[in-house]
Symmetry: C2
Subunit: 393 residues, 2 copies
Amino acid sequence: MVRFAERMNRLTGSEIRELLKLTAQPDIISFAGGMPAPELFPVEQMKAAAIKVLDENGKAALQYSTTEGFPALREKIVERMAIKNGIKTDIDHVLVTSGSQQGLDFSARVFINKGDVILLESPSYLGAINAFKACEPDFISVPTDNDGMIMEELEKILSTNDRVKMIYVIPDFQNPSGRTWTMERRQKFMELINRFEIPVIEDNPYGELRFEGENMPSLKSMDTKGLVIYLGTFSKILAPGYRLGWVCAESEILEKYNFMKQASDLQASTISQMETNAFLEMNDLDAHVEKIKEVYRKRRTVMLDAMKEYFPEGVTWTIPNGGLFTWVTLPEHINTKEMALQCLEQKVAYVPGGGFYPNGGHENNFRLNYSCMPEDRIVEGIRRLGDVIRKNM
Amino acid sequence: MVRFAERMNRLTGSEIRELLKLTAQPDIISFAGGMPAPELFPVEQMKAAAIKVLDENGKAALQYSTTEGFPALREKIVERMAIKNGIKTDIDHVLVTSGSQQGLDFSARVFINKGDVILLESPSYLGAINAFKACEPDFISVPTDNDGMIMEELEKILSTNDRVKMIYVIPDFQNPSGRTWTMERRQKFMELINRFEIPVIEDNPYGELRFEGENMPSLKSMDTKGLVIYLGTFSKILAPGYRLGWVCAESEILEKYNFMKQASDLQASTISQMETNAFLEMNDLDAHVEKIKEVYRKRRTVMLDAMKEYFPEGVTWTIPNGGLFTWVTLPEHINTKEMALQCLEQKVAYVPGGGFYPNGGHENNFRLNYSCMPEDRIVEGIRRLGDVIRKNM
């Protein structure tokens, strides 16, 4: 009789991915995924990049390459992190991964023994929780407010719990809440981290997608003790189809990630790395990101306005200044998992909030994505959602 | 102070990957890697496939897609396994992975708790041993001879050790030995497996690269109880740069691999899958494989002939009928790890044998790869190797 490893008891399919299957029908208005708008993908430019790579360097592009990643691409990642995130580093401190999801998986594998504690924001990204579960941690969700993680709560936990081995945060346009940490919180956070010397996974897929206001410095840029492991990705600023992300960390830590990369799949795709590198050489990614931001900003505004118009009294939501998501809270008696089925009947979808809390509860929230639907569909979808919510009040 | 997880004590860089860095200089005659010959890559055809995909389906190619993999590609994998490996299955039993290395990593994570036993051939593939180590197993190496794993030894272990949770084998043109299991061994193996009901990882990257003799049926094709997990890859028959492999297993087992895929990196690259699929639609992969085989067969023969000419008495090697490797055994007093440095001085490289034995020892062997060097370089490299060996005798 086949017996599975104990870790598999903790792993089940992610609700998002299961829901995405249901919402793949074209007549559904889906706010469920976290997908970029495909109509903005620079298809022609990527084709030109692919042709250039295969014409000039075809044999190398189809061959194995180094675990750490393609040097020219890592060089560009280093330059971009310097400009966009204030991170001063070099290519020896960058590993290319298969999306930043792989950075999440490696983080748990590098730091977590069974029963160790991972701290994360409440709520936190479902896909990260799912990746971490494979290492059988205990989770402690740290309360948050509109300014980010609440530092008094974090301090209380760090002072009283010596099993904490890792802290996972998304300080910019968080998934699922859409919230961004204030400067004050970031400074206080780094003080605490330096005092307790706990490694921090800073996940920043959305930081470049700011619609208004000032950019915040990354935690990594404020890191004086080499405790922050920074995860970046091309998925939201370019395209997710190549599955390219990166880890930036101090040498002693990154070495462990490199070992994990080698053991788990040898290297990221050579040709994906070379084509992305060629795209960056041939095009202005900043101009492309501006275009994306303009579209998402409008969609965000349309969604917020529609919620104001169609959602009943007693429903609240976050006001994101960037990123892909807003987070809706209903009265406590409403279960958004059950309500999701009623919504699917009305051909509209979201992700129920429960999955974003590793220890359960909070079933009265849901996550809405606004990046992937045209404006008129957003209005219509929110109208339908409003109807279903009203029936459940 | 940052503390790493216990599993990281077991993980260090693979010797092959470290050695490949040293041997990347163009003046080195390297028999160290396991790389396909880049001059045979169908670069122009892959360019045509890339253009087709981006012209006809660009948005989908750059977007997220399902965890299981691109359906049309899985369909072609199913057809290929039916014809080449005698495996009757459907796409619901196939998961696309980031190379078959990822299938190895997932296998350990799905089946192995710390301290569980993995059985493998002696010697066995270094990259698999490295992947498995992250789950902190104990290894037991089962003795082999020219016909494959020795069944009496396997039976002895299975009868007396109840901690065995997984058996890892490469029955066709094994890495590193180049040996292939006979039909009799395969039948006896499946009898034992069915009796003890232990899951088997059948790793088959080289099966299609047979130079002479009859194809052997895969273990998976003889599997009546759903115990064999089959790993395939495009790396050796097409190109490794896309990082595309697959897992084929029964539903209950494959579900666990799908969960691992979702948690660890969501999905294989969408565009890599679609371009590989387009290549398969537009070209005759069989004809391409024939071309590869012809080149490798000649190089194999040149290498074997050169060893006969240049290697001193007392050195033995395997005679591979396919695949990429031959396995050389020196007198026991010679340490091939130390000798590798002398060889690097003579600008010739191999992989020392020690790493292929998870419990150490056997330092008097080394692995030679013949797929990646032109014939004249093979002769010259073997001549140099012979000189160094002679000095050490």
